[in-house]
Structures are given as structure tokens and as C-alpha cells.
Amino acid sequence: MTMDRNEMTRHAQLAAEALMADVSGARAVLVATPDGFDLAHAGALPLDASRLAAMVSSMAALGDAASREAAIGQPHCMVVDSSAGRLVMRSVQWRGEPMVVVLLADTSALLGMVLNALNGVERSMGTA
Amino acid sequence: MTAATTVRRRLSVLAQSVNVQDMLKVEVFLRLAQGRLRCDWQVSTTGEAHLLLLGGDEPTTIPGLLDDPVSQLQLVDGPGDGQQVLTRPLQYDAFVDALLAVEDKLLPKSPSATGRQPWSTGSFRLSRWPSAGLLQPHRYGVRLATFLSVRPVTLDELARLCNVDSAECARFVDAMGHAGLLSLAARVAPQSRGVPAAAGAPGERSVAPAADAGLVSRLRRTLGISNKGST
């Protein structure tokens, strides 16, 4: 990796905590590497961060493969809309290093607000 | 099903001009193979040898070697010709098969009381997968072993399922039997379910989806895999 892992983790943690504070209805935020390692997480929702990191990396990779197959360009976000909440994930780049940011929200969270907040993650990590 | 040998005979392998690395392997292989061999093998430096292992081209000059060894093997680099050669890097299966061949020459086989093998008339299946060395002499060994790994069969069924000559099946089954790899099975009444029952414990749920013979033959044809086995 070209970036110091500790520095990357620190910025990822700050971004996770900022998302938790900014998004009404957010229950947890997870930041993962594209190959499935947990970099940072925030929120009170109990979760197995290592396992979820692996899962979302698989999902992100599959979304990327499906987008390529359908020739619709690079995927921005993926949404899993479930009966008791949503999982919304976005691939971001920070100083050239790719990451997957995942926000878990309850049903009160507005999807548009969540997507907007995730869109701003790259900016917030850059200025942290 | 293993041959009844109550006393394990001591046999020896004598090495000449074998390098240190290969000798270390020989010692490790002898330890690992104890369960497969019918005799207790040891490495010796002089005297009686049942297997002479040559690492170089020099003539044999082993002190005290008066009798011809039962077998002699040459370690060579690169592809070798014939059954008296082992190629480097020394492979476990090939070495153990050479030891088993010596044992076959020295030890009597143990036929059943009727003079026929127990598997001649009954159903049987493999109790474990055979070594590469046991499979290699049989042209359709992998295919035959594969069928025997799934379910108990009779010799006739095996020949029919595998599309292999009966005599060849019998030779293979004999070899597996003498190696102690066969378990005789009571004929299991096939389960009348929609999905074929697995050859495991009765009542065990079959999770492999039902597949018709047509699918398999079409896939074989598409990929160019003969149904008589490729090994």
C-alpha cells in the first residue's frame, strides 16, 4: 500500500464518526478495504465488523462486475432495502486508496439524506 | 479386510551413493508409510538388504552383501525408463510402491478359506482413496476408484457403470482389496425418493441435485471428456 495504514485508519474512523453524527437514523458505519478488511467502524449497533467488511467487499465487487457486464459505467452506490432498515454502501477514494463505506440505518432515515451524506465522505476525509 | 499378519517381518533398504537430502526423505517416508506397509522397514548400511537403492552409477560394493537384494532401484534425475528407476525429486508414493512390491515378492498372499477373495461375489466400496502409486498401474484406475468411492457395487455393476472390461475391473478390485482399501457392504436398499439417495448413512439427506444422465453425457461431449476415463 502506498499510504500509511494507521493514517488511513485514523481518517476512516473520523469519517465514520462524522457520518454517525450527521445522518438521522444512522445505526452504524463501517469502512472496509476493497479486499474485505475492516478499517474503522462507529455506532452503537453490535456487529461483527470483520465479517461485515468481507461481505460488503464482495457486494461491492459484484456490483462493479454487474455494472461492467451491463456497460453502465462505474457503480457509485448500492442499497439493500430491508424490512427493518437499510444498508447503503459507496466506494470512495482517499489519496488514491480505495475504500468501501457502509452506512446501516433504521427505517426512519431518509434515503436521499443518506446518499447525500455518503457522497460527501471523500470531501470530509480529505479535510479531516 | 487387511491381510492377517500377526508378526511384522523386518526388511531393510540399503543405500549406496544416495545424497543426504534423498536419505532424509527415505527416512521420513519410512516413518510415514508404516500404516500402509505390512513389514517393518529400516535403513541399513551393510549386510542383508531387501531393497538396494542406488544414487549413482558406481557398481555395487556393499560390505557384507552376499545375497542379491530382492529388488534394486536407481535414483535418476529427469525422466526414467522402466520399473527399476525412481526419478528425483524422490516421491513418496513411488517409493512406497517399490517397498510394497518387495513385500509382495516376499510375503505370501492371504486368500480366504475358499481360495476366493471376499469381494468376488459381494458388494464393496473404497474405505479411503488409493495412493497415486496404486492407481497408476491401472489404465482406468481413477475412474474405477471414483465409482467405488460413491457407493457399494458388485464387480458386474462396476464393469457396467464404468464401461470397463470385467477382467480389468477384477484386477483393480483385487489390488485395492490386497491393499486393505475395500470395505464389504451389505446391499443397501435404494431409497425411493425423488432425488437419488446418497451412498452414505441411511436416512442421510441428499443435497446433490438430481441430474440426468443426458446432462452428463452432453457435458462430456462438449468438453471432450471420454466416459471411459482420461487416466
Binding site: 479486499d35 467487499s57 | 473404497l126 497415486a132 460413491v150 457407493r151 452414505g200 462438449t222 487416466t231
Partner: protein, 184 residues
């Protein structure tokens, strides 16, 4: 009838993607990303699945799936192996503890293996002759299973076809058992 699938699983670098590419009619779909695990000597690694297919020419295809190799993706192993026609487990004998690697897969698939058509292919046995194929068979046998164990090079198409030959023979053996059942 649902298109059948064959799943290739096994350790990272054992040749799963290569094996699928050797069989697939079309270039396989891959989900490789840059590897950040320093213990894995690869620049990229599969994190989703590999996908290929063999067209049987009558509207039916056989789908080929490759799983990620690392243990943290074990959930994908389960998802992909569900309803599979056959399972090919590829082991790299040059890794530090190949027998332990095999145990990971035997445990992950312990409910499926007793009745699953399966084969174990061990690669790099020429450069790394130990552990021996016998030792792999012993590990399998200790679990009351009889699964074919073969030395293979996933880069050689003939070796990959040999693995397919073995699992197809198992399918044939079970199909025949089912024919007997319907005739009883």
C-alpha cells in the same frame, strides 16, 4: 430445468480462476481487487466470485463458479455451494500448511460433503512433494469421507478436465442409483 453449477473452491493462488478460464466458453467474470494482505503473495485477490459457463448447445448451460480463497469469505463458500452439482477443492501444496488448509474446507462443507460430488486437486506437488497425497487422503478418511485426491496443475487444461471427469463419474454413479430406486 435450472442450469446446474459446478463450484471451484480452495486456497488463494491454487488456480480456481485459471481452472474456470480453462473450461468456460467465454472469458470468465472476475471480481479481483488489489490485495492488501501482506501474508498473501499475490497482487490481486478474488473477493466476490468468478463466473464462467459451458454452453451445452440446447439452451442449457453449466455454470462455473469460483469462490474467494480466504477464510474470511467463508460465507461466500456456503452461498455458492448451495445446490451445486459438484465441488472442486483446489489446494496449493506450496503453502505453509496445506493439510490445515484442507481441514478449513472440509469443516466449512462438512454437512454437504457426505453426499456431494467432490474432488480434491492438489497443485505444485512436484516442487513440494510433502505433504503427500496419502496424507490428504488420511485427513479426509478421518472424517469418514472418501473423496478423490489427485495431483493437478490448474494451468493444464487436461488436468482440469481430469477433475471434471471425476466429479461427472460421481454424478453418473448417483444417477444410476436413482434409476435403481425408481425401478424397485
Amino acid at each position: 430445468m435450472k442450469d446446474p453449477k459446478i463450484v471451484f473452491t480452495g486456497t488463494p493462488g491454487a488456480g480456481k480462476t485459471t481452472a474456470i478460464a480453462a473450461l468456460s466458453d467465454t472469458p470468465p467474470v472476475t471480481t479481483d481487487v488489489r490485495n492488501t494482505d501482506p501474508s498473501l503473495a499475490k497482487s490481486h485477490t478474488t473477493v466476490g466470485l468468478d463466473f464462467g459457463q459451458v454452453d451445452l448447445g440446447d439452451g442449457q448451460v453449466v455454470r462455473l463458479f469460483g469462490t474467494p480463497g480466504q477464510l474470511r469469505f467463508e460465507f461466500m463458500w456456503q452461498i455458492l455451494a448451495a445446490d451445486a452439482l459438484a465441488l472442486v477443492i483446489l489446494i496449493d501444496n506450496s503453502r505453509p500448511d496445506p493439510l490445515s488448509d484442507l481441514v478449513d474446507y472440509l469443516e466449512a462443507y462438512q454437512t454437504l460433503l457426505p453426499s456431494m460430488n467432490a474432488v480434491i486437486g492438489v497443485g505444485r506437488t512436484l516442487e513440494c512433494p510433502l505433504p503427500t497425497l496419502d496424507e490428504f487422503s488420511d485427513i479426509v478418511g478421518e472424517r469418514g469421507l472418501v473423496v478423490p485426491v489427485l495431483a493437478v496443475d490448474a494451468r493444464e487444461r487436461d488436468d482440469v478436465l481430469m477433475l471434471l471427469d471425476v466429479v461427472l463419474a460421481q454424478v453418473e454413479a448417483r444417477v444410476d442409483l436413482g434409476v435403481e430406486a425408481t425401478q424397485e
